[in-house]
């Protein structure tokens, strides 16, 4: 698993990860937060329903898709945390209100 190195210089924001409010450093990506919070997987695949997690962290593999502020299929590794952001693990194709990408 992953951990975040101690660092007191950084400002934080509140995000809601899978229903739980957490304080996280500003300027980090959702994927980095999910991993450092101990999530091992962040979605399941629509085809075989197997677990996946961020793989490339640079926006090219699309394995980090999560539901962010109600929108499915968002790449967590290129999405930066914002105050009050709602982040959830995605099951398959996610909620239908998400934009197909």
């Amino acid at each position: 698993m992953f951990k975040q190195l101690a660092n007191d210089e950084i400002e934080t924001v509140t995000v809601i990860l899978n229903g739980q409010e957490i304080q996280v450093p500003k300027g980090t990506t959702v994927a980095a937060i999910a991993l450092s919070q101990g999530l091992r997987s962040t979605r399941t695949t629509p085809i075989s329903n197997t677990k996946r997690a961020p793989f490339c962290m640079m926006g090219v593999c699309y394995d980090c898709l999560m539901v962010i502020d109600g929108k499915a299929n968002q790449r967590a590794c290129v999405t930066y945390v914002e105050q009050g952001m709602q982040v959830e693990c995605q099951q398959g194709t996610g909620p239908s209100l998400g934009d197909a990408q």
Partner: protein, 464 residues
């Protein structure tokens, strides 16, 4: 953001930054678009905001990016961070997504400085959570100070693996094993290229210094490793591999792999630039001349997106393209361009002397690239296996694109970014067309995700 620029640059890594700083000195309208919130690309990621302590651990090669970013910040070039370019065509029109709004921009000259991505190499278990690319490990550390908490296994081949191991060592991350899959035969093929490489010896001495440091800390690299597999029930629990014929198992919940890097060519593909298979670099890259001109007039490439040469070289290549853009715009004469380019060309050529050696030394064995087990997933998105691809080839689909339409391999969310290279190798090996004769997956806009509503914006704008 204007609707038209004389010089539009895509990507704020070393090539893009250097090009922007060079060209904008001459009063032309110049804009640089980049997906990240800060300039630096992946190599100098977060350079402006990184806490000092973390920056020190990244070493002088990383800190070097600061000067480049400062020069760019002081320049007259317009800068649009958090901006995604989702299309590019041969009319030099770029589709741009900025702050949730889509827009089309045109330019007289365009530089695509899209950089590199890790070479995806399918092996059993590579889709398990806990298996990531080494570049991901670096990005996590640079941009968020996030590192493995319960130890890590590093496996693969190439300088980045060594650098990452050295960085982890200094942070205090437990390195459970360093597994080098470089075939021992590579040492022989690389040897004749060594004398030339010695002319750019700073890379070699650095590599050796890292090795010594790691060895002192009790971390020895296992060389000649093969048959790497990641295993676990839904998540990574252990890895298995062969070391000099003996099978070994290591328990770990994080495995970071590295099989070199390849150019990220989705934008130049979509634009219709000609691409060729680079045998030595084992990847496709856009065709270009000494000034970065592609097969489409006014569309240029520089940096790793043009072919892998590393960050230093990218900086020089970026300046050369900046000068070329000024020449094409009629701002500089040919003689002025040539004389101003001399220093950068000289340094770039010196820097590149190491490449033939590195390419031969770290060449990924064909066995890994072309013959994954039948049940290994190749297309992570559509979950298409190596066996399905081989079956398609046997049934007469002899080229990557044919296999793609037949199997859906490469048709998922990543648009084939993770499987294009592997599929080409597998098709070649299974009796399809030779890799250099195959066409790369055709790129189609949008090459980056775009919501339907965002596309609609564009039509509204057109209608107004």
């Amino acid at each position: 953001m204007k609707n038209h620029y004389q010089f539009l640059i895509i990507g704020a890594g070393p090539a893009g930054l250097a090009a922007a700083a060079t060209a904008s000195k001459y009063g032309i309208s110049c804009a640089l678009l980049d997906e990240q919130p800060e300039p630096g690309g992946q190599i100098y990621r977060a350079i402006e905001s990184i806490p000092e302590q973390r920056e020190k651990l990244l070493g002088s090669e990383y800190q070097r990016g600061q000067a480049l970013v400062d020069e760019f910040r002081a320049s007259a070039a317009e800068y649009y961070p958090e901006t995604r370019v989702w299309s590019l065509n041969d009319q030099k029109e770029a589709g741009v997504l900025h702050h949730g709004k889509t827009k089309m921009i045109t330019a007289d000259q365009i530089l695509v400085a899209s950089g590199a991505m890790e070479r995806p190499v399918p092996f059993p278990g590579w889709t398990l959570p806990g298996v990531m690319q080494a570049g991901a490990g670096q990005i996590l550390f640079k941009s968020a100070g996030v590192v493995p908490s319960d130890g890590v296994v590093l496996a693969g081949s190439g300088p980045l693996l060594l650098l990452l191991a050295w960085q982890y060592l200094h942070i205090g991350v437990e390195i459970k094993a360093m597994l080098d899959i470089t075939p021992l035969s590579n040492y022989l093929t690389a040897l004749p290229k060594l004398p030339k490489a010695l002319l750019a010896h700073q890379y070699l001495t650095k590599g050796i210094a890292y090795q010594i440091d790691l060895k002192r800390a009790g971390i020895t690299t296992k060389i000649g490793v093969s048959d790497l597999r990641a295993e676990g029930d839904g998540e990574l629990q252990s890895i298995r591999f062969r070391h000099f014929g003996r099978e070994q198992l290591i328990k770990t919940d994080v495995l970071l792999t590295h099989f070199g890097v390849i150019p990220h060519i989705w934008l130049t593909q979509a634009a219709g630039c000609k691409h060729q298979w680079d045998k030595s670099q084992q990847c496709w890259r856009p065709e270009h001349d000494d000034w970065g001109n592609t097969s489409i007039e006014g569309v240029m490439v520089a940096g790793d997106g043009a072919g892998i040469h590393g960050a230093r070289s990218a900086e020089h290549a970026g300046r050369l393209v900046g000068l070329q853009a000024l020449f094409a715009l009629g701002v500089l004469t040919q003689a002025e361009r040539d004389s101003q380019a001399m220093e950068d060309r000289k340094w770039m050529n010196t820097d590149r002397r190491i490449r033939p050696f590195l390419e031969a030394y770290f060449a990924i064995p064909k066995k890994m690239l072309a013959t994954p087990d039948d049940d290994t997933i190749v297309c992570r998105c559509e979950e298409i296996t190596s066996g399905q691809i081989r079956k398609a080839v046997k049934e007469g689909h002899e080229d990557s694109n044919q296999v793609k339409y037949f199997t859906r391999c490469g048709m998922g969310a990543c648009q084939g970014r993770q499987c294009a290279n592997a599929v080409a190798h597998i098709v070649d090996d299974a009796g399809g067309q030779e890799i250099s004769a195959q066409s790369h997956y055709r790129g189609r806009p949008p090459v980056a995700p775009l919501a339907l509503g965002q596309l609609a914006d564009l039509y509204e704008e057109d209608a107004q």
